[in-house]
């Protein structure tokens, strides 16, 4: 691994995490963020007290979880053969020209085209699984000029390319999870997901999988809202009646629960079993004991097998959110 690039990528991590790592190794951790990254951390590595792998784990934790739209799939019943073996993953990696990424992550700050940078065997909640990490680029658009001509308004934008991370995880229980970076502008999340399915061929074939519907999750969360009040704060909800009418509820106070409002609660209680929840925006609330350790905002709208994690979260908080979303769908 290119240590210099790693030290630069470490800026993605939170300062507290880097400081904690140095503390854990009983190393000095005072000084500015720049001082830590350009002096203390490199010295810690040179002295052999901090391993490169520990720093890489911090980068992974900082950029692989959150600010993503997630798509979930399960194998079709007739093709439930379990996850691919390591041998098959290796063959696929050779086929795609990325076999080295199984042993050595490629550290890059930016790419022109999407690039698989790491294929890892990770311990996931359901057991050992495979993580395929891709670095992609999207862009932020800034308007720099507006020229009001006779019949035309010509607007000029400046594009700033940004690094985003896409992840595919193949769980031991068969679940295939796509996490698509959504920051900035670029291809839609669905388009990126389609591209990733193509990339996975012939390791996984999309026709062997079906979307894991979160429709029951939406309904169960809604129906159990009173019981979940200390764990989930609802901000938006859309209910569709059997007659095709839509009721959209939203709380203007971003830290208030939608259903604390008596009128909203009375109205929602009128929704019968023939109504469906089209979408929800809610927060898994930070717990004093247990997960999540910080609020995790979830947008449960869009394709039925999909949700978005708004903002960054830690790996543990993400796993908690994913586990809960699946659990409420059962």
């Amino acid at each position: 691994m290119d240590e210099k690039v790693l030290f630069r990528l470490l800026r993605l991590a939170r300062r507290g995490e880097v400081t904690q790592l140095l503390k854990d190794h009983r190393l000095p951790y005072s000084g500015s963020w720049d001082e830590l990254l350009t002096n203390r951390v490199p010295h810690a590595v040179q002295s052999g007290k901090v391993q490169i792998a520990e720093l890489y784990d911090l980068v992974r934790a900082a950029e692989e979880f959150g600010r993503q739209r997630v798509f979930l799939y399960l194998p079709l019943r007739e093709s439930r053969n379990g996850p691919p073996s390591e041998q098959r993953v290796h063959e696929w990696a050779i086929h795609r020209g990325v076999a080295r990424r199984m042993t050595t992550p490629h550290l890059v700050e930016s790419v022109d085209e999407p690039e698989v940078v790491h294929i890892a065997s990770d311990e996931l909640p359901s057991g050992r699984g495979i993580t395929i990490k891709e670095i992609d680029r999207r862009h932020l658009r800034r308007q720099i000029e507006e020229d009001d001509q006779q019949a035309l308004v010509v607007v000029t934008y400046e594009k700033t390319f940004i690094r985003v991370v896409n992840i595919v995880r193949i769980h031991s229980d068969g679940l295939v999870e796509f996490r698509v970076g959504t920051r900035g502008a670029g291809p839609t999340a669905q388009a990126t997901e389609e591209r990733l399915w193509s990339l996975l061929r012939p390791l996984l074939e999309q026709e062997d999988y079906e979307p894991l519907s979160l429709q029951d999750t939406r309904r169960n969360l809604f129906q159990q809202r009173a019981k979940l009040a200390k764990r989930i704060r609802f901000s938006e909800m859309q209910i569709r009646t059997a007659g095709g009418a839509t009721l959209r509820m939203k709380h203007e106070e971003h830290e208030a629960d939608l259903f604390d409002d008596e009128f909203i609660e009375r109205t929602a209680a009128e929704a019968d079993d023939s109504s469906t929840c089209d979408g929800e925006y809610f927060t898994f609330l930070k717990q004093v004991k247990g997960q999540p350790r910080a609020d995790v905002r979830i947008d449960l709208e869009g394709p039925v097998n999909s949700f978005a994690v708004i903002g960054h979260c830690t790996p543990a908080d993400y796993e908690h959110a994913l586990t809960e979303l699946r659990r409420f769908g059962r």
């Binding site: 800034r142 308007q143 203007e252 947008d299």
Partner: protein
């Protein structure tokens, strides 16, 4: 929440033509927990003069009866942030719901009030 009546009595003395709208404003604020926009307050208080009403709101903010904030909403109408004043709002902000950066214009701002 009950509003300090002295503040409103003083306002009536300063804006006698707005006696009734000040009373209605007092009633609204007593029952209100959430932030309200100027338009919502005008709708409820029905002042005779918009300009006088803005002065009344400013006076209530100055006296500490009302809290004033500026909220920023993205072009997609998502809440992005709340600021104490206009000067503290960055020229560009990101809508985390969509991942899009946007330049903050007047159309993205809502001035809101709430009882302290």
């Amino acid at each position: 929440m009950s509003m300090p009546s002295q503040n409103f009595d003083d306002l009536v003395a300063d804006f006698p033509s707005e006696r009734e709208s000040i009373q209605r404003l007092s009633n609204v604020l007593s029952a209100q927990k959430a932030f309200m926009t100027v338009e919502q307050l005008v709708d409820r208080a029905r002042p005779n003069s918009y300009g006088a009403f803005l002065q009344i709101l400013s006076e209530l903010v100055r006296q500490g009866v009302l809290k004033r904030r500026v909220r920023v909403y993205s072009p997609g109408e998502h809440f992005v942030g709340e600021f104490e004043s206009l000067v503290k709002i960055p020229t560009e902000l990101e809508d985390e719901r969509t991942g899009q950066l946007f330049q903050v214009g007047m159309e993205n701002l809502r001035q809101v009030f709430r009882p302290r």
